[in-house]
Symmetry: C2
Subunit: 199 residues, 2 copies
């Protein structure tokens, strides 16, 4: 599990591109995406605007670069869940992975969620609705009953909101993960799959 | 229950103001809020722009006029839930009311939700975060455990999303209401309060 806890944004950026993304996220959190310019990012890093421009031509590209690792992980997670044969194993893979992903990206989401410029950029990109439909299909299962579709939609919306709600921002990652898993299992009515015996 | 099913937007508008709001909602659904002008609303109604201006000075005022009945109902619902003594009665009042409200306003939400202009207008107004905090406090109860806070946040985000998710847009109101209630009770772990015996 430890490996899955590493943040998508490397905490100690090494490459110029990583440093740039970290600086952009800092500025986004303070000024919003629309209030941040490429020049401000360059100033914060003490480089020329051309140096920023070398990596990213527009602010949109920076936002997508911040978000696309999450989208790729979601796709990989859906792939992994699809390989599972039983409903329990599929849900365990998917729900556990979703919760890990949301928790690992709490700080990213806290900055980008609710930012209308970000919403607009992602809207134009159009990846999220496709991913959302795929995740709902996996959560609800084949030939789902109406109740399963409602529960799947409630879970996805619920996890997303709960990940950065002000009331639970205080909880540490492990606490939040445990409670989210408990609530998700209750909502979707599945139990933790039996663990293989330790050897 | 029948009385609670009446839509917030009167289906057969009678006053000029109601007609105007219905026309605005029609245009919003087709062109988005940012793509709709007061002139377009006037044209659709076959009146002058001055006639529109008599009721609403700006498009923002129209959006708020569409949304404010829902906000008022949410406040009244929170008031009613606060009067309940037992947890079960409080949750039953609040959750049932929330679900009714969401379902009655499915068409309004389908139009306004995801519209960035609307999000911006509501953001500036600032009523929703206050209401959200109050609803979470009521759902989680006094001195809530972390798990109750997570469940309350998941419920609120989940119900909101499930009300207009594309996958469940096909369900009729009664079907959706029943499944949402079942899922909500599972998530918050409360049972339907005992009904008074029929007489």
């Amino acid at each position: 599990m430890v490996a899955r806890l590493e943040p998508a944004i490397t905490p100690r950026p090494k490459t110029g591109r990583d440093k740039l993304l970290a600086a952009a996220l800092d500025l986004f959190s303070e000024h919003g995406v629309s209030g941040t310019s490429l020049q401000m990012i360059a100033d914060l890093l003490g480089v020329t605007k051309a140096a920023v421009y070398y990596h990213f031509k527009t602010k949109n590209e920076i936002v997508l670069a911040l978000v696309s690792p999450v989208q790729e992980e979601l796709t990989a997670l859906a792939d992994a869940a699809e390989q599972q044969r039983s409903r329990t194993a599929r849900l365990d893979t998917l729900v556990g992975g979703l919760i890990d992903l949301i928790i690992r990206n709490r700080s990213l989401y806290a900055v980008l969620q609710g930012d209308l410029t970000v919403a607009h950029i992602l809207d134009q990109q159009g990846v999220l609705p496709v991913l959302g439909t795929r995740l709902i299909a996996l959560l609800a299962g084949p030939d789902p009953e109406p109740e399963e579709l409602v529960a799947a939609n409630m879970l996805l919306g619920g996890l997303r909101d709960a990940g950065f709600a002000p009331q639970i921002r205080q909880f540490d990652d492990e606490t939040l993960r445990g409670h989210m898993l408990t609530c998700a299992r209750r909502l979707l009515r599945y139990r933790r799959p039996q663990q293989p015996a330790a050897h």
